[in-house]
């Protein structure tokens, strides 16, 4: 589920946060490996040169598309084994922070992903305009289709 904290004025400058949560039927140790081992991370998120070391700069790399080089620039901010992992996430003119929180839950692990720092400003709109339209509109269509 996403829980966008939304203001009534789209032009306002305060930032907003995206939260996705899910309980996985596996112990925190296994989740932690999937989140922090570069080769495992590449299998579900993106190719990367991640190492769980605070202060380390790294990149996620997706297939380039027209007008987007596919690169996400990151820096490790928090490494608290089995509990919390955080890195900055910079791409397409959007600077944000991703925070993972693992909590033991009945029958598995509760995983919470919080991405914060969304500013609905003109820079984002401009960058969005330059993001390959075909792909972008395809995604948009899905997003709109998923709304009531």
């Amino acid at each position: 589920m996403s829980h966008p904290a939304e203001g009534s004025n789209p032009a306002e400058s305060r930032t907003r946060t995206l939260v996705i949560e899910r309980v996985f039927p596996y112990p925190p140790e296994k989740l932690w490996r999937a989140l922090t081992e570069s080769t495992l991370l590449a299998q579900w998120l993106m190719n990367n040169d991640f190492e769980p070391v605070v202060g380390q700069k790294f990149q996620f790399r997706a297939e380039p598309v027209p007008n987007w080089n596919g690169v996400v620039d990151c820096e490790v901010l928090i490494v608290d084994p089995l509990k919390q992992l955080s890195y900055s996430w910079g791409s397409l003119g959007l600077g944000s922070v991703v925070l993972w929180t693992l909590t033991p839950a009945e029958g598995g692990t509760h995983v919470r992903m919080e991405q914060s720092g969304f500013r609905p400003d003109q820079q984002a709109a401009y960058q969005g305009a330059n993001y390959g339209w075909q792909r972008f509109l395809g995604t948009l269509e899905q997003v709109l289709g998923g709304l009531d």
Partner: protein
Amino acid sequence: MVSGVKPASANPVFRALADPTRRAIFEELTRQGEQTVHALTHYAGVSQPAVSKHLTVLKRAKLVRHRREGRETHYRVQPDALAPMVNWLNLYGAFWRDRFDRLEAVLERMGS
């Protein structure tokens, strides 16, 4: 808690940009800044009446605005109009949900 995009507000924008020629005109305006109808006609490679028609659709969707100067009409983008469309929360929401599904598959494959 409100979902960011309302289809009612995004659809005119979506429809206006669904046409490849209009999208090309709009992209050209985001790249070059303000342009005359004359210059846009040259760029788009279609007739001036066709370009004017496309610009009218973009104008109705509030994606562009115009000003007249002498005989020339100048068009420029109105980036705010993209706000209902470029919704990072929704785009990244779809992105992360997809990645969570992939994570689940990876966890399954990892064994115990």
